[in-house]
Symmetry: C2
Subunit: 213 residues, 2 copies
Amino acid sequence: MKERGLLIVFSGPSGVGKGTVRAKIFNSPDINLKYSVSMTTRAQRPGEVDGKDYYFRSRDYFEETVREGQMLEYAEYVGNYYGTPLREVNRMLDEGYDVMLEIEVQGALQVKEKVPDGVFIFLTPPDLSELRHRLTGRGTDSKAVIDERMIKAREEIHMMAAYDYVVENDVVDLAAERVKKIIQAEHFSVDRLIGKYEAMLEEYKVEKEVTKL
Amino acid sequence: MKERGLLIVFSGPSGVGKGTVRAKIFNSPDINLKYSVSMTTRAQRPGEVDGKDYYFRSRDYFEETVREGQMLEYAEYVGNYYGTPLREVNRMLDEGYDVMLEIEVQGALQVKEKVPDGVFIFLTPPDLSELRHRLTGRGTDSKAVIDERMIKAREEIHMMAAYDYVVENDVVDLAAERVKKIIQAEHFSVDRLIGKYEAMLEEYKVEKEVTKL
């Protein structure tokens, strides 16, 4: 049996650049990662390929999939559904691939409830890490601008608390490298490996008993 | 104030090759890591440098250090003490360096109690991951040999459960790369970063109140 892959949930506030960083990761030669194609009810745009960009489906079909419990997460934006079909993710994981979802924060929190041992990576705007400079700063921003940014920052920090890792998107190439390192390092996690080693010992026990008969 | 570095505890069964992998890591051009020099009461050998290979000290001095609570971990082997002086580790961490200890399993467990947020990496012999092959195997080993290995494997798996990561030492270069990736990825851990972000927000609150006066 193949070792099951890792579910990588790549998420963060909208506009942070998830798609760009994800594309950079998937263009790397040295990854063993599959992308989970989302399902949507929005209209297919020129140039988009069904099954590659999205699975384009009717509202009825989408809602039926949700009712059957076959949607890992979903949400409605501007009158259209977007979601992650469960079956395909499971198939790829079972085949031993790591699978990456690129989803919004609300979706990530749904996945977290269902798959707590997923790897949850929060992509953060560089703003947040520049807070210190701005605050202890040079007085170039008005109080109103700073206050507004602080409210935003507070929300974002609150969101990231549910994740395992925070990656700053200062430079796309660097952000992509960080995500790749996180995925590689997660494969060495004791929590993930110890079960495998224990299973090997169990297997031996069983064999020994069989031999004794 | 500088961000505090990570305490990396690099450990594993004796004879697994910790020293070789550690040397490979420290020869890399791209690391920001300091090595914690151990203190010992054993005699200095020709070629060894005090303060580089070890701090060579008397038994009285060593025991006094332990009594003062200034030893992060220590153990006695073959009539000599070996230990990690706390003060220097703290100084390097405060300066923002990651600090690596290369120690035996018993020492690692002592450190785990005092510094639970250290990064605990267990170097494992390739044997352990080859168990499956050997067990489901080709009948080349006698039952006695396999049984003996199983007992050893069971002990090692038991030890690794207290660690965060398991790295297989199949090829020294690969093992060193894995350890480096783990250290890099740990810097993106939410648990480590969220406090920093929260501190920035707190700092702003304080400043705002001061401004209001």
